[in-house]
């Protein structure tokens, strides 16, 4: 009895650190209710979802400011720490931008209450995933993200949408099954579901089955971040989904996935004492993602498919930060993730704006540089940032993660790290070729476009804020790095 009451007390205590997630859970329920009562008032729905996210973000920020030391919640199922707190903030901001994008086109979106509820469910799943310390928790929150995403992928209610959604589902369930099998192997070998306790087991160090189990678990994470060779779902899904959802998919599940991936891989690596080549696995996946993503993007004609391959390549860059296996690399990865979120949304905001003028193919962008100079310029800045040229946040992000990669090479002397270093940077040249195709059409190719020019739009205001963010992170990265450096990345 005493043990039970202790546990209850622990759970009661945990609740106070769980406010953002509670807000999200209540929000999901309320938004369905509001949808039933006020079906026609779309603006209320959008603003309510915004409110929920702002609240969650607010409490998330309070949490990260108050609790420097990690705290285990719910009997070690999840842990609140700086790393997960920071990722949660990024996830919330990303979702906020998604909701703003949807709000602009809310009339065109069918079943809006369910749409928002599903988005919030993904956010809840992402929050839980980055905090998970337990394999069961990892699986549950990953499935919460996945199942909601399968539905969201089909939210354009077209034939193509259903196809993309079904493909996503089929690939996703196989990946989940493989991951679950890996989890069961890990559990069988160590007798524990809490992966932070793995390092105390001798099995982890010398049992080959552990490598297989861990690798299978990684498959699930690689699938979620769309890293090659587990990427083929993403172009089809991106092509068919509504634009805000594409932007959302390319940021939120990816950040959650990379969060849990870094936690997991650093745990099983046990500060380099592990006998297995975890670092080489991550490096190979990073090289593959960079190369496959960039080279496939070269042949794309559709904007969304282009961005899908771009996001595969960007996963590769995020993985470079993880592949260093250094705390500093993880810090820089967080910086890159922030920059990636800002520049990616900057691009998607304008892609959505142009899509609503009927531009789906890259060639249809011809001539908009003259009719819509400001929007085209902001889009150009976003794409230049994704290439990683100065003076943008994308350059600083790449510069930082490759700095720590060099440091890691210097410490370990592993040749694969040098290959990753060279491949990663040379990939920027390849990416230049396709990222610049949209500005190339809009500024250089002449074409007739009869879109009305209006500079004072909401998109341009939002775009301006993001452009300032992209430039600010280049000229003064010290501010953000200062915050990130305060994060105590202890395992």
């Amino acid at each position: 009895m005493e043990i039970l009451s202790d546990k209850l007390e622990l759970i009661r205590m945990s609740i106070s650190f769980f406010i953002p997630e509670l807000i999200l859970s209540i929000g999901i329920l309320l938004i369905i209710l509001i949808g039933l009562i006020k079906k026609d008032n779309l603006t209320i729905l959008s603003f309510f979802s915004l409110g929920i996210l702002v609240l969650s973000l607010w409490f998330g920020i309070i949490q990260i400011r108050q609790h420097v030391l990690p705290i285990n919640l719910f009997v070690g199922m999840i842990r609140v720490d700086g790393f997960s707190g920071y990722l949660k903030i990024l996830i919330d901001i990303g979702t906020l931008l998604t909701v703003l994008m949807t709000w602009r086109k809310q009339r065109e979106q069918k079943h809006l209450p369910e749409y928002y509820a599903l988005i919030l469910a993904v956010v809840l799943g992402a929050h839980l995933l980055v905090m998970s310390m337990n394999l069961i928790m990892v699986f549950l929150s990953l499935e919460l993200i996945s199942i909601s995403s399968y539905l969201l992928a089909g939210f354009s209610f077209s034939r193509k949408g259903s196809e993309g959604s079904l493909k996503y589902f089929l690939f996703g369930s196989v990946a989940s099954a493989v991951m679950l099998y890996g989890f069961s192997l890990l559990y069988g070998l160590t007798g524990s579901l809490d992966f932070s306790s793995f390092m105390h087991h001798q099995m982890v160090k010398d049992q080959p089955l552990f490598l297989i189990g861990g690798f299978m678990a990684l498959v699930g994470f690689f699938y979620k971040i769309a890293a090659a060779p587990l990427h083929p779902w993403s172009p089809d899904v991106y092509e068919a989904a509504p634009m805000p959802i594409v932007a959302f998919f390319s940021v939120v599940p990816k950040l959650a996935g990379i969060g849990i991936l870094s936690k997991f891989i650093l745990t099983v690596n046990i500060m380099g004492q592990s006998a297995y080549p975890w670092q080489i696995i991550i490096c190979i996946v990073a090289i593959l993602s960079l190369t496959v993503g960039n080279f496939s993007a070269l042949w794309q004609k559709n904007v969304k498919r282009l961005m899908a391959y771009s996001s595969i390549a960007q996963s590769g860059f995020l993985l470079v930060g993880v592949a260093t296996f250094l705390p500093q690399g993880i810090h820089y990865m967080l910086f890159y993730a922030t920059a990636y979120m800002i520049m990616n949304y900057l691009v998607f905001i304008y892609l959505q704006q142009f899509e609503s003028c009927g531009m789906h193919e890259i060639s249809s962008f011809a001539g908009i540089g003259r009719s819509q100079p400001l929007s085209s310029l902001f889009l150009l800045i976003g794409l230049v940032a994704l290439i990683g040229l100065p003076p943008t946040a994308g350059f600083m992000g790449k510069f930082f993660i490759f700095s720590s990669l060099w440091e890691s090479y210097q410490l370990s002397g592993q040749p694969i790290l040098l290959w990753l270093f060279i491949f990663g940077l040379l990939n920027a040249v390849v990416s230049l070729f396709y990222y610049l195709r949209i500005p190339y059409y809009s500024f250089i190719k002449s074409g007739e476009s009869n879109i009305k020019t209006n500079i004072l739009t909401f998109e341009n205001l939002l775009g301006l804020i993001l452009v300032i963010g992209v430039l600010y992170l280049f000229f003064n990265p010290g501010l953000l790095m200062g915050w990130i450096n305060k994060i105590n990345f202890a395992l």
Partner: protein
Amino acid sequence: MQQYLISLLIFTPLIAALLGIFIPAKLVPYFKALTLFANILQVFFLFQIFNSYESNGTIQLIEKQSWITINMGSLGILKAEYFVGLDGLNLPLVALSVVVLLIATISSWTIDKNVKGYFLLLLLLNAAIIGSFTALDFLLFYLFFEFMLLPMFFLIAMWGGARREYASIKFFLYTLVGSIFILIVMIALYLSVSDPSEPGRLVHSFNMLNMADSTRFISNTILDPHNTWMIGPFPARYCAFLLLFFGFAIKLPMVPLHTWLPDAHVEAPTPISVILAALLLKIGGYGLLRIAFPIFPDAAMHFSWFVGLMGVISIIYGGLNALACKDLKRLIAYSSISHMGFVLLGLASLTTEGVAGSVYQMVSHGIISAMLFLIAGVLYDRTHDRTIENYSGLSTKMQSYTVIVVVAFFGSMGLPGFSGFIAEIMVFLGAFKSNSVNGLLHESLAIVATLGLVLGAAYYLWTLQRMFFGPFHLKGGILESSIVDLNKREYIMLIPLVIAAIFFGIIPQPLMDIIDPFAKHFSEFVINSGKSLTLNP
């Protein structure tokens, strides 16, 4: 104001560009006036700089402001600064830039398509060029170096000729590959050096002067000279040097990495060709002199035969190609490649004469190539045809133009009395002397390189004979009425360059006084520290 002169030089065009954004695109003359005003202000600042500059081999007018400081925990502190200064290497190049950019603005007067965009991009390019010549912080240099690409890309792609899209993308891709090579070395370098600015703490700074000091390398880092880290079968420092070398050689451009240049030149509008040939190519040479050679002197000495050989190959191959060209602008582009080969040869000799000749050649080629591309532009403006064989006997209709063409061609050939002669003679002196002084280059290199002069005389004289002399007639549907002599604007652009080319050919001393202390210090520094590092690894 005295201590902010370089910043004024860099930020004047940026501020002008910022003002320009708010001018409505319809007010075409305002953009021209704004750009011209910024250029004239820069000339004024340049005079101020010459007033306060003393030629003594040190870096002067230094400005240093902290820019990025990040605590990286166990890895120390990352510190990038706004650090600019001038010495005998970059002062002549900055002066050249200011003058050429002014002339390019005057030459842009005829632009009539999307004037606002053109002049704003020109101003951005201006700031980036001056910035990369003056930056002494590697990250700052890299920022300006990369920032040149985008304006240049759009300037070629939007205002260029028929194949402008192909040419602009090719230019961008080639140069970006080069700058990625440089980025790789930059990351490796800043993590390998420590800056003494904050005693007791490990500071990784991007200070180029600090990187050139071999005692500043942290022991056991990959690029530490006392460490024999191998990447594959090669020492890491050699790999780093070669990456830097190829990165800058693409920009220079060196055969066989030159193929972007003829395309970019042929397609670019005249003022952009002028900037490309006179200034952008020099950044390649400048990078070798400022970064690659002083930071890796041991590798520079080891590979100097290779650098010299590539220089000679560029000289000969560029000359042979020029001989075969049917398009006047393409011919000039290949002659640029040939002349930039002298920069490599002089540098490779690592003698005071050779290095001074190298820098002198950069300035001289800046003046003469600007003149040559303007000349090609004058003809193109009139007839929209640059095919050499379509013209004959132009001297009868365009007397003043012919005089200036003759001056420019003779200058480029390296005839005595023109700046090119001084530069090339010093490069040859250095290359001949090298074997006896430091044993780096074999004399045969210099002997083969003289063939370049013969080739230069051949293609220029042949072109002169074909286009300007003989009976007057035109082919290819060119109207005779379009052949008129120079107008006032063209005189304003060309005459100062003619004067400069002759002045520096007859009275080289003022320029040599600035370059010489640098060249002396540079060659001694590279040889001495290169030797000491090779002897005690």
